[in-house]
């Protein structure tokens, strides 16, 4: 499979990365080299094989559903480029 220029733009949209028109050709070429490289996986017979979901054979631990942390909003927003009254500030999202 290979991607065309429109698909590169679309992937950029999905990934929320602005791809300028003059960058498309280079990304397209590089992505297609990589997609060509991974194509060899099609040779592998994976019938009846379970996809790996856990690296080590372990069950995820569970914990009590209680609050164990928190209460420091000023630390949460400490690194925000823009904040006010311990809220993150973003451009207006509702009309």
């Amino acid at each position: 499979m290979a991607v065309d220029a429109a698909t590169v733009k679309k992937i950029g949209r999905l990934a929320r990365i602005r791809i300028e028109d003059d960058e498309v050709a280079k990304y397209q070429a590089e992505i297609n080299v990589i997609l060509g490289f991974v194509e060899q996986l099609d040779e592998v017979d994976v019938a009846g094989v379970e996809p790996m979901t856990s690296v080590t054979p372990m069950q995820l631990r569970r914990r009590e559903d209680v609050i164990t942390d928190g209460g420091y909003p000023e630390k949460i927003v400490a690194n925000a480029p823009l904040s006010e009254d311990n809220f993150f500030m973003v451009p207006k999202v509702v009309e």
Binding site: R18, Y27, I34, E50, P51, L60, R61, Y72, P91
Partner: protein, 494 residues
């Protein structure tokens, strides 16, 4: 007085305990060395000199009171991927511009608990994506090693290139690193240092900037096998804050270093004999097997049939996980923000300005392989192949193999800005062809310097072990280190 920076970590620890020198003197010696070397090598992206001196003074007080921890007063470099409270933590990316976390990663907390002194944060490939340390926002790290009669700058490998260069050039007694596809072991091989990626789950990932969560593991880079074992013992341990951390006692890895390989069965996978492999690497591999045999190990040919599919499967799984992990860099919570006409515009512009090319490309690949209509064809298939790769290893371990010996890399260190590598991403990715299988299967792997190539550059061998049997790897790596008997000190030019 001998140069304190040249001591091994084990020797420095002994000297501190015996009060032959103070932690303040040792830290001072490293800070002086960094000041001189860093403009040339670019190994550190932030030096925390004042905090290091304060920590060293605190260690001296503890040493005086006889209350010292196992790493008391030992100066370390920390890869920029580890969250360090109030200190530069940017994964060598522009997108985390100015980020100083309010928390400390579990691994660095463990090291500080044991008395270690942090000298600063080490350069790396941006978000640990790279094999040459050339994708860093802070510019490439230069390998302290140069080819005989050459002034050409070589790469230290990646992504833990700053860690490897700093350890090799005596700019820290040891360093933390991380390994997602070979990022500890390949730089170790390129710089004549020892690096181990432990079993997945051995070290907590909490507080480490995530790249590909099912593959990422922290580990040490050090100048000797014993030093690596000492660091590993402090770094490892169960952590309830990481859901994949394994609740298992951490052995004293240093105690296993001299235990030898008598009675161990070492596997030699035929699939690792790649077409076009340089003769000197083939020779080194045979030499390594001879050394292990001479110490009482049995060598057996084995087959790991799905080896060639590990790298292509990795280049689906790792970008997929990365595209998800890196979604958090949006110009809202931390780091760089570029104003846009609406929120989507702001996201797109912030991420376009903040991520470097390699990172953007991998996030885009990941986004594509996870997108509707392609998920099964790419991602699910790759995870199935991963099951087969893991099964290959399980089969040989079940058949009585204790550890596997392979080359660490297909070549010695290459030049900075090498055209070939930069023109073709797959060519760069091939650096990890021997190491990536280990991440895919979650196994431990160690790289140990074993010889030099025709131009005097270090070459490494890799040992792959059973899950949670890092001890056999330390023991076998020590045999290789001792049998080689080579001084892996670069000639100082910086």
């Amino acid at each position: 007085m001998t140069d304190l920076t040249r001591l091994s970590l084990a020797a420095a620890r002994k000297g501190l305990k015996a009060k032959e020198f103070s932690a303040t003197e040792l830290t001072g010696a490293y800070l002086t060395a960094i000041e001189r070397a860093n403009p040339k090598l670019n190994a550190y992206v932030a030096v925390t000199a004042d905090a290091a001196r304060a920590a060293a003074r605190a260690s001296d007080e503890k040493l005086a009171r006889g209350e010292s921890g196992p790493l008391e007063g030992v100066p370390l470099g920390i890869k920029d991927l580890f969250g360090t409270r109030g200190v530069h933590t940017q994964a060598a990316s522009h997108v985390l511009d100015g980020f100083k976390p309010e928390y400390e990663s579990t691994v660095t907390s463990n090291l500080f608990r044991d008395g270690a002194v942090m000298l600063g944060k080490l350069n790396m490939d941006e978000f640990a994506m790279g094999s040459s340390n050339e994708t860093s926002y802070y510019g490439p790290v230069i390998n302290p090693w140069r080819g005989a009669g050459s002034n050409a700058d070589l790469v230290p490998g990646g992504s833990s290139g700053g860690s490897a260069a700093a350890v090799s050039a005596w700019l820290c007694a040891g360093a933390t690193a991380t390994d997602t596809g070979g990022s500890i072991r390949q730089p170790a091989a390129f710089t004549g240092t020892v690096g181990i990626k432990p079993t997945y789950g051995r070290c907590s990932r909490w507080g480490i900037v995530a790249f590909a969560s099912s593959l990422d593991q922290a580990g040490p880079l050090a100048r000797t096998v014993e030093d690596a074992a000492i660091l590993m013992t402090s770094m490892a341990g169960f952590d309830p804050k990481d859901s994949t951390s394994v609740d298992m006692a951490v052995p004293d890895f240093a105690a296993a270093v001299e235990r030898g390989v008598k009675g161990l069965t070492i596997g030699v996978p035929k699939e690792y004999r790649m077409d076009g492999m340089p003769a000197e690497i083939e020779k080194l591999w045979q030499q390594g097997l001879d050394w292990l045999r001479a110490e009482g190990a049995t060598v057996r040919d084995i087959s790991l049939p799905h080896t060639k599919y590990a790298l292509p499967a990795y280049y689906i799984v790792a970008p997929a996980e990365a595209s998800s992990n890196l979604a958090r860099y949006d110009g809202v919570k931390y780091g760089l923000r570029v104003a846009g006409r609406d929120i989507t515009d702001m996201y797109e512009l912030s991420r376009a300005a903040g991520f470097g090319r390699e990172v953007k490309r991998r996030v885009m690949i990941g986004t594509y392989v996870l997108s509707a209509g392609y998920y099964d064809a790419y991602y699910v298939r790759a995870q199935k192949v991963r099951t087969l790769i893991k099964r290959d290893f399980e089969d040989v371990f079940n058949a009585g193999v204790d550890a596997i010996l392979t080359p660490a890399t297909p070549s010695a260190a290459f030049g900075v800005g090498e055209q070939d590598m930069n023109a073709d991403p797959v060519k760069m990715y091939l650096n990890d062809v021997f190491t990536v299988t280990v991440n895919m299967a979650g196994l431990p792997g160690i790289a140990v310097p074993a010889g030099k190539d025709g131009s005097g550059l270090p070459l490494g061998l890799q040992l792959i072990g059973k899950p949670f049997d890092e001890e056999s790897l330390f023991a076998a790596a020590r045999i290789i280190e001792r049998s080689a008997g080579i001084d892996f000190s670069p000639a100082v030019w910086w």
